[in-house]
Amino acid sequence: MIPAPIRPATEADLDDIMQIEHDAFESTAWPRDSMALELAPSNDRHYFVATIDERVVGYAGINVVSGHQSNVMTIAVAESSRGAGLGRALMQKLIDVAVAQKSVEIFLEVRADNEAAQSLYRSLGFEQIDLRRGYYQPENIDAVIMLKAIDLSSQPANAQPLVLGIESSCDETGIGIVRGTTLLANVISSSMDQHARFGGVVPEIAARAHLEALQPAIREALKTAQVSLEDLDAIAVTNGPGLAGALMVGVGAAKALAVATGKPIYAVNHLVGHVGVDVLERGQVETPTIALLVSGGHTSLLLVRDLLDDVELLGETIDDAAGEAFDKVSRLLGLGYPGGPQIDKAAATGDPKAIRFPRGLTLPKDMEKHRYDFSFSGLKTAVARWVEVAETKGEDVPVADVAASFREAVVDVLVTKAVAACQDHNVSRLLLGGGVVANSRLRQLAAEKCEAAGIELRIPALDLCTDNGAMIAALGAQLVMAGRSPSSLSFAADSTLPVTQVCSL
């Protein structure tokens, strides 16, 4: 038998439903007004109709309380359509809704003299837990109270969850939407231009810009993805690491959105998001992998044995982030902001070997203590000194050579340490992430050294490398697919969130 289509009930089904209601329950039928209220849009009440040839022949409703008990409100099938499995199909739909919304128990009550219904419910896992004497009046029939306990951990995980991700850890407001591992929207609103005259990201300016970008970015992402907020299975948000005031804008918005829509929320780690974004291009993050994340705010080397459960920070910058060093040297050379692209452009005609700038934390004694750490502050000072000396001597400063030599020093350390991490840990994969990945020389040198060392190099598309909401949504979707519990509404924005904390509860 082809199962009858089950679809959500609407207020337009009221007449059909009331007809069946009166036939089935006679004197105890609900009044029309009550039924109309039940069918009104709600986050908690879910009503469905079973149809044959688009004719409504049955209906059922459940009141779902996420994380708590759900109650089957009613179920009925027109007499002429009974015995065809419609009751079972409707009940199964109600159970699915309760499970999807993470209810832990489902209650129902049934007339003690309706053995057929009780038998159906037992076959779906309900057990009698109580008997209410004379519950159905005026016939004075007892009610059997039945309960189905739901073991959420044993439920098949949602295969292709629709997740909206919110990212606001630095100067980019990112709203991304994914379905499983499929990218649907990746809207990025950057306040970079507003920081240009300050030569670096100003936290207060970034936070103000997030607030202004929020609503238009959410709307644009939904429009691009052609979904509504009601369609979502979950909301994910960056809760760290990053700029505290900036993070709080995204966290406040995400929590309110979760309450408004009744969707679960996942607080996820920004850095792990940069790694998790690879699922959008390859369907999964192949592990183990080393990840080198380089941006204006971070320079981190991670060992990822498992995306959700085992991420280890091998090292990070002990002073400036690599992107910050590019910005500062760019300013020093009278080039623009952001520094990365400007240095890249100026370096194009320069000789990377013209000046041997220091490679931070690469001396033997440093390699003992800071094998996978980075330092760019000394390099920046060395460039400044070199320029100062040249000017003092009255020489022309060869901007192209300085830029190329500086860039080479940064990129050399980044790639050398990343490749060493791969070799030391016997990991044959390297994943790059962060805005500095836009740097052509970094990509080139990483490709060369990885090939020579037999390491597989992964560089996601640039708009997935820079800070974005899609990577947050993608990591959130991975958590949903793995059946992980969502975060509570109490989690904090944590500017120094450790990379080991993939999802905050």
């Binding site: 986050n43 100003v202 709080m248 406040g252 309110a256 408004a260 300013r331 020093l332 009278g334 000194r385």
Partner: protein
Amino acid sequence: MSPFLAIDTSGGTCVAVVSEGKTLASVSIDDPMGHSENIGNAIAQVLREASLTPKQLSAVVVGRGPAPFTGLRVGIAAAIAFSEGVGKPLLGVVSHDAIAFAALTGPKAVTANPINPLLITTDARRKEVYWSLYSGLDSHGAPIVLEGPNVNKPADLEELLTERNVNPVRTEAQLDATSLAQVASAKVAGGASLEDVSALYIRAPDAVEPKAHGKFGKQVSS
């Protein structure tokens, strides 16, 4: 137009569900920090206590400050997102208006007029206060602002008032989300547009433009 969800994080975290001027549920957390931790549970709690689903709300009202920056943004961000989430209008109200409303109504109401206006001050940190002057309530019950919000050191504010020969009425009234919702109702009744929900920071961001450089940047010493 009700019930309203009202959110204000210009001081602590204040959230309420208000219908026809009556508070159905409210949460007020004095903590001048912790807004982003508290906001989600506070909204969920007032809805639960008011026995309302989010979609049963008719609008979201949010306090625009003035306030120190970080906390204020959390409430506005939450209100924007909640309004998107339920597809209901978002109304912005100056937080000082709500304090003025609380001071000018109720059993302990003070009276104000253009000669003896009501002075509202709130902590702006950095040893400064945000302040506004109100001359009373309009015919719809919304506070009429004479001046503000501005930010000054308390001593400078007093000097300014003395100079202008203004002897203001002062109040101990505190902000509550119910008053915020009532101001919104009164303003809407008076035909005001409350579309603007931008944060009232009053101060510019603390950011200093780098000094002008020589041809190749600053001289590095040491």
